[in-house]
Amino acid sequence: MEMDWYLGLSAVLFTIGVIGVLTKKNAIVIFMCAELMLNSVNLTLVSFSAQLGDVHGQILVFFALCVAAAEAAVGLAIIIAIYRNNLTVDVTRINLLKW
């Protein structure tokens, strides 16, 4: 079995994440898509790590997980704050700032 299957899978997942970020309107879902992107990158890292027999890639995944957790905490807090202000998390309806 070839390694590029893994890379291909992660590329597909990454792209789905990108499409999601660009098309969705709900802030939470956009954020989840960003998490999907991070997750697919983790897959890439693990498969490279497996290919090289090298631990560093997995270490990076570990840190990426930490970052994802931290991002989740802050991101969800921001979403709660904006929901309290606007009663919506629809990014197309939150538009005080333009140009």
Binding site: I28, N39, S49, G53, I59, F62, V89
Partner: protein
């Protein structure tokens, strides 16, 4: 056997990802993401990264996604319109960009077909808790400490943003 497992997990992961971005219901989206994360954890196992597979399920699937679900329930978010129900330039641009990114990445990856070796034989040792722990607390000690501060900062920040009462400017 591995090939079949890979195909199974990969199909699940992609299907869950597509399900996530096409679902109308935010809760469903979140659940799809959990499914995706777990499938990816399965693939980690195939790649002999046991530690990360466990962490993936525990931290990502367990902690983070629960947080997501909690917030979604807390805010009682209404359903979103179906992704394809209203075609707009936004979608077109998003789709177009997505296709470009995908094709570039696929091209990049396809160009290395056949050059990559099998899973490295040392991987059995590399993916274990011992190996990773060893690296983390020797070479990567400083980053681990940084992570401590990062998580502290995130907690303080989350408190700061979500804790205090919002003043009178809320539009009702």
């Amino acid at each position: 056997m591995e090939t079949y497992l890979f195909i199974l997990f990969a199909t699940l992961a992609v299907a869950a990802a597509i399900g996530m971005i096409s679902s109308k219901d935010t809760v469903n989206s979140a659940l799809f993401l959990v499914l995706n994360l777990i499938s990816v954890a399965g693939i980690f196992l195939l790649l002999k990264a046991q530690f990360l597979a466990v962490v993936q399920v525990l931290v990502y699937g367990g902690a983070i996604m629960v947080l997501f679900l909690f917030v979604i329930m807390l805010l009682n978010l209404s359903d979103e319109e179906h992704m394809l129900s209203r075609f707009s330039v936004r979608y077109a641009v998003g789709f177009f960009l997505g296709v470009i990114v995908l094709s570039q990445l696929l091209y990049a990856i396809a160009s290395v077909t056949g050059t990559l070796p099998q899973i490295h034989p040392e991987m059995e040792q590399v993916g274990t808790v011992e190996a990773i722990g060893d690296a983390l607390f020797t070479v990567y000690l400083l980053p681990v400490l940084v992570t401590a501060i990062l998580l502290t900062a995130a907690v303080v920040g989350a408190l700061l943003l979500a804790q205090r009462n919002i003043s009178d400017k809320v539009n009702k």
